[in-house]
Amino acid sequence: MGAGQPGNRERPITMTDRTMTEQKTTEQKTSDPTRFLSHLELDQPDKTFLDSNELVINMGPQHPATHGVLRVILKLDGEKVLGTECVIGYLHRGVEKIAENRTYTMFNPYVDRMDYVAAVSNGLGYCEAVEKLLNIEAPPRAKYIRVILTELNRMASHQLWLGTHALDIGAMTPLFYTFRDREEILKIFEKYCGARLTTHAFRIGGCQYETYEGFERDVIKFLNFVPPKIDEYEELLTSNRIWLERTKNVGVISRADAIALGVTGPVLRASGVKWDLRKAQPYAAYSDFDFEIPIGTNGDTYDRYTVRMEEMRQSLRIIRQAVERIPEGPIMAKVPKVIKPPVGEIYHSIEAPKGELGYFIVSDGSTQPYRVRVRPPSFVNLQALDIMVRGALVADVIAVIGTLDIVLGEVDR
């Protein structure tokens, strides 16, 4: 963790005397919207340096527990967090501006670089949004392939989350276990489309590649191989005393706060909202499958852990149904060689491993999108960090960053 010295790139960091007001807002549990606001007032002149116990320190951007290049400015009173401010944008690549200068087809691989641990989900969202804009639909076989790969990717994303999250908290073994098993998924991706992470698996209108010889066999082998492994992760953590101490009642977010902050995905479900876009507004072939939406009750880090663990099992359930029922037929719809959607706009969102991933695309009738807006789940979820860690300890900040499951490529785009 960096010392109190401000980095020379950003605004200067000074300390202010806001201890009292800060604490009051923490205690107030009213519907006052201002309590969500993070006000460190870092630009105020240094007034109380000598009398104050407060300390302002930087965490990140070069810190392994921030999962990338997230910089969090923490205002501390001893070990207690009074407030935080996230400084983001270190990985900003201007994806939305790039989109305006590329054709619809050319932009397709770029979306994989946003949430690079769940690239398949990004591609699915983009392809479906453009398909909706073109008013075409992918054939059933393509939809099933999409579901299988997307759920495998959700699994891989959750495994990566579990490994790194446990590592942040101090358990090293789950990282080796999850990476060992995630490898099997990446092997399937590699055999399917040649890439392991940024897969570019789907095309507008369907899939580019037919499943390879033995695809079903590989997937079923994986389905049989992985459930005992998930039990193994749970054995290490679920009733582990250290894990319970570090996660129970840490980073609690209430149902009302989660909705007000627009939090989605497992974080929202752990707070007790039974909402999953795969059920609420089914896309691809999700309406064909039986699966449960796991929810939590307390909205703490432990609940988010159990929700994601259960989600992995539900993903396996979906994959098994999809592999068994995969229909024959074409994998590509009739798509014009040059994609020129009619003038109009569309918002389409999917349930990515991190939450609601939406694409708002405006077409002006040319071959290039007039505007592409990505609604990233990580960006919106990260906003909840402040309210989740206020009053907690510094070590809990690390646990909460892990449990939010952010990917900075998606936060910054």
């Binding site: 950003e10 606001l37 983001i88 909705i259 109009g344 918002y347 609601e356 919106v380």
Partner: protein, 159 residues
Amino acid sequence: MVAKLKGQYGSGVREACTYLGQNYMVVEPSVVSELLQILRNREQFDYCVDITAVHYPERETQFELVWILYSFPRNERIRVKTMIADGESIPSAVSIWATANWLEREVYDMFGIRFDGHPDLKRILLPDGWKGHPLRKDYGIIQQDQEWVQANLGIESGQ
């Protein structure tokens, strides 16, 4: 619902349509704040999915602001759109949905649209000293790159 709102605001709600199965309404900037409040409190649109903007430099009112809302009880989405001219500001929605905070900051960062009453309106993705607002259509990427290369490396840009 739309008919009710139209009755209440008359010409404030300019049009309400459905395109590709998605509902949206175009409203006057003066009624936006009140309308969003009503959608949140009376029509149960409790989740603000996204706030974004689109730039049309050839129009008189250059910016189209878009609020994408979702209602958990109704399982329904709606888009609220309004047009404002360059330099005009719009009331902030932070007091309605807390999530608007960062979303509005991003719109400000990328388009330079100011939100009145936003508690902390500053750049979010780009550094504080950045010049211009990149998602405006008149923002040239090549020019920005050349300036940076010349100033920092003292050579001509390769682009």
